[in-house]
């Protein structure tokens, strides 16, 4: 079984600082980490490897420094690393990114057919959750998003069963492979790397692929050229400035305060009061 995990190196948003003098975001010195959601995807892949045996390839598109993220994934137990890196990829939006990654996965499949592609549910720097579905569409993979657990997989029969979070509850879905699964947070946390894997992660060469090596002929589909997304404006949403009402703590018992709150809600939102069965004023 061949599993490909797509990961992304992102700035650790918990440690981003604003330069106190110039008020600009200080990228320098902000540590780069593996997108936290991708860690859950890596762990799912490794658990499948433990259970059924699999070759796990980690794939990322990014600058040469992104190899640190790949090495980390190998320390956890992944087998191979592929880094898509080329100036031609720069400035890619989710459409161009998913195209490039899909091409690379197609290329990887030439060596050994890919049964399963895993990604995190979204990245913490873009928050779009579009790249996974984009890859699935292009490679004609069964798409399973927001998966909280892979409950079963049959490598011979080529089927997979997952639990998927949806608005109303949990869906249990069984489908055929090859599939693409985007993994939710909250499953098993990433394992502690063993010493032999730490050594391997430092020593194993990273396969670096440029545009041609990734099997991409049409430069119009990658990088800035292949990116129709236009960021017209970046702004902080204005905070609402409706007045807050203070309901006095001096009123005494919690019960009294609570009924004051309900009265107020009832008078401002009559429908809400009716639905709750509160006496309309």
């Amino acid at each position: 079984m061949h599993i490909v995990v797509c990961i992304k190196q992102v700035p650790d948003s918990a440690q981003i600082r604003v330069h106190p003098v110039t008020n600009t975001i200080m990228r320098q010195g902000v540590p780069a980490i593996i997108n936290p959601f991708d860690l859950f995807a890596i762990e799912e892949a490794l658990q499948l490897k433990d259970r059924y045996g699999a070759r796990v390839t980690v794939l990322t598109m990014g600058p040469p420094q992104a190899e640190v993220a790949l090495r980390k994934a190998v320390a956890y137990g992944a087998d191979e690393m592929v880094l898509l890196t080329d100036r031609a990829f720069a400035g890619a939006d989710t459409l161009a990114t998913s195209y490039a990654l899909a091409q690379a996965i197609r290329k990887l499949g030439e060596e050994e057919p890919v049964d399963l592609v895993l990604t995190g549910k979204q990245t913490i720097d873009g928050d779009t959750a579009q790249v996974g579905p984009g890859i699935a569409r292009r490679l004609d993979l069964q798409l399973l998003t927001y998966v909280s657990a892979i409950t079963d997989l049959d490598p011979g029969g080529k089927t997979i069963e997952v639990q998927r979070r949806s608005e109303g509850g949990v869906q249990v879905i069984r489908t055929r492979l090859p599939a693409l699964v985007t993994v939710l947070e909250g499953g098993s946390t990433i394992r502690f790397a063993t010493m032999p894997n730490m050594f391997r992660a430092e020593r194993q060469p990273v396969q670096q692929w440029n545009r041609e090596q990734a099997g991409i002929d049409d430069v119009g589909k990658i990088g800035l050229k292949g990116s129709p997304t236009v960021v017209s404006k970046i702004f902080t949403p204005r905070a609402g400035n409706r007045r807050a009402k203070m309901i006095g703590a001096e009123m005494g018992s919690a019960g009294e305060v609570a009924s004051a709150v309900l009265d107020l809600l009832g008078s401002e939102h009559p429908r809400f009061a009716r639905e709750l069965g509160l006496a309309a004023p």
């Binding site: 106190p20 003098v21 010493m195 730490m198």
Partner: protein, 432 residues
């Protein structure tokens, strides 16, 4: 794991990096283990980098290392509650093409040094804590780490794990750290625009100023404070002996707050934005507190060996030098095909004795004891010197002769003539 190395270095501070770099550059098979996420994440220093020690390891470090400012002026201040007396030395000669001292920020500096170690061919593994030394028949044969399948073997283990080396203690090479032999220091970094900083300190380009501070701010405890200029920030810190903190129960950060509010300091950092706060121990027991430095299959270097010259606030250079000498010892033995036995590793101690490291520590060997037994050096004298200056510099119709008499009387009243002579003698003995 069955893999074996020529040497394992524990820790990626200046001592460990110097050792690993030297070993790997000579073609030895080296493993370096660091518990921090990346080298430098856990390390704290003022920090002044002394060029000489690094130059002997990486001669052209100036072209690539992340340096903040080269020091052209050193001030020494003795504070009273709202005054300061001091001296300073400034020289254009310090702006030569090979400046002698620089301010650095340890996080980027350590990261750079570690990259050099990797490039030299050492295997550098971070986020891994060495939990104990593996011993067989009284010989250290490797290390145990906190990872699965994490026992690793080597001909020699170099301990560069910093002050309060748990590993050395666990193996029985050290005793418990005596609180009288260790200082606790706290420091902050304050951001300021480069032009503001240059204006305030009367410097241009990458010139820098350091201020070493003693006096009332330590509340009579044995300790000092410092202020260093970085490119776009100021590092300000203060440290005192742990035993004194225990006695006075003054919280260290309260001292730092007082220091920041002192009228001689406050205007220098005004408008700056605090960026980071850190606390760390410094081994200050000096020569007499140095433990055994080597044995069967092991050596200790840097802070974990207590190699800090507190009187001159030198630590990283002793760390790098001891790391380098330890590595050179192993390289020589390796070349001759000799084992890293206790007998053969004695060369390390001998070479260290011949270097400035031990010579300087020996020179100040009585100092910790003297400072400890004479707390008035940190309480009475700062006041006396400040008052003397105040008296002499106030023009109020009183004649100079009478003023001198007042000053003399204040000294004798506080310390008695014999006391003064004794103090002078003790200080001379402790630093000669």
């Amino acid at each position: 794991m069955t893999e074996k190395f020529d040497a394992i270095v524990v820790g990626a501070g200046p001592a460990g990096n110097a050792a690993a770099y030297t070993l790997a550059s000579a073609g030895l098979k080296v493993l370096q283990l660091e518990r921090g996420e990346t080298p430098g994440t856990k390390n704290v220093q003022g920090a002044i980098l002394y060029s000489d020690a690094l130059e002997r390891i990486i001669p052209d470090f100036r072209n690539e290392a992340p340096l903040e400012r080269h020091i052209i002026e050193q001030r020494m201040w003795v504070l009273d509650d709202d005054s300061a007396i001091g001296t300073s030395y400034r020289s254009e000669a310090f702006s030569s093409d090979r400046p002698n001292r620089y301010t650095i920020l340890r996080a980027p500096f350590d990261r750079w040094f570690s990259e050099k170690v990797r490039a030299a061919g050492a295997l550098v593994i971070c986020e891994t804590t060495v939990t104990e030394l593996l011993q067989e028949g009284g010989r250290v044969v490797g290390v145990r780490t906190d990872r699965e399948e994490g026992d690793i073997y080597a001909d020699v283990v170099i301990l560069a794990d910093g002050v309060n080396s748990l590993l050395a203690r666990k193996a029985g090479f050290h005793g418990e750290l005596d609180p009288r032999n260790v200082a606790l220091a706290v420091k902050e970094i304050h951001f300021l625009p480069e032009e503001t900083l240059q204006g305030r300190f009367n410097i241009k380009g990458s010139e820098g100023v350091v201020i070493e501070i003693a006096g009332a701010v330590t509340h009579g405890m044995v300790g000092t404070a410092f202020l260093y200029t970085n490119r776009e920030s100021i590092t300000l810190g203060i440290g005192c002996l742990l035993s004194d903190f225990k006695k006075t129960r003054v919280p260290p950060y309260a001292l730092l707050e007082e220091l920041k509010q002192h009228p001689a300091i406050a205007p220098l950092i005004e408008g700056g934005e605090m960026k980071e706060y850190a606390a760390h121990l410094i081994p200050e027991g000096g020569y007499k507190a140095i433990p055994k430095l080597y044995g069967e299959g092991w050596m200790i270097v840097g802070d974990s060996a207590g190699l800090v010259n507190a009187a001159h606030r030198e630590g990283s250079n002793l760390a790098m030098t001891s790391g380098r000498i330890a590595a050179e010892t192993v390289i020589a033995l390796h070349g001759k095909g000799l084992p890293c036995s206790q007998e053969n590793l004695a060369v390390y101690r001998a070479a260290l004795d011949e270097s400035f490291v031990m010579k300087d520590l020996k020179k100040y060997r009585e100092l910790p004891e003297v400072l400890h037994g004479n707390p008035h050096f940190f309480s009475v004298y700062p006041k006396l010197f400040n008052r003397a200056a105040h008296t002499m510099l106030t023009v109020d119709g009183e004649d100079k002769h009478s003023k001198e008499k007042t000053v003399r009387r204040s000294f004798v009243e506080q310390r008695s003539l014999l006391g003064l002579m004794g103090d002078a003698y003790r200080m001379w003995r402790a630093t000669r």
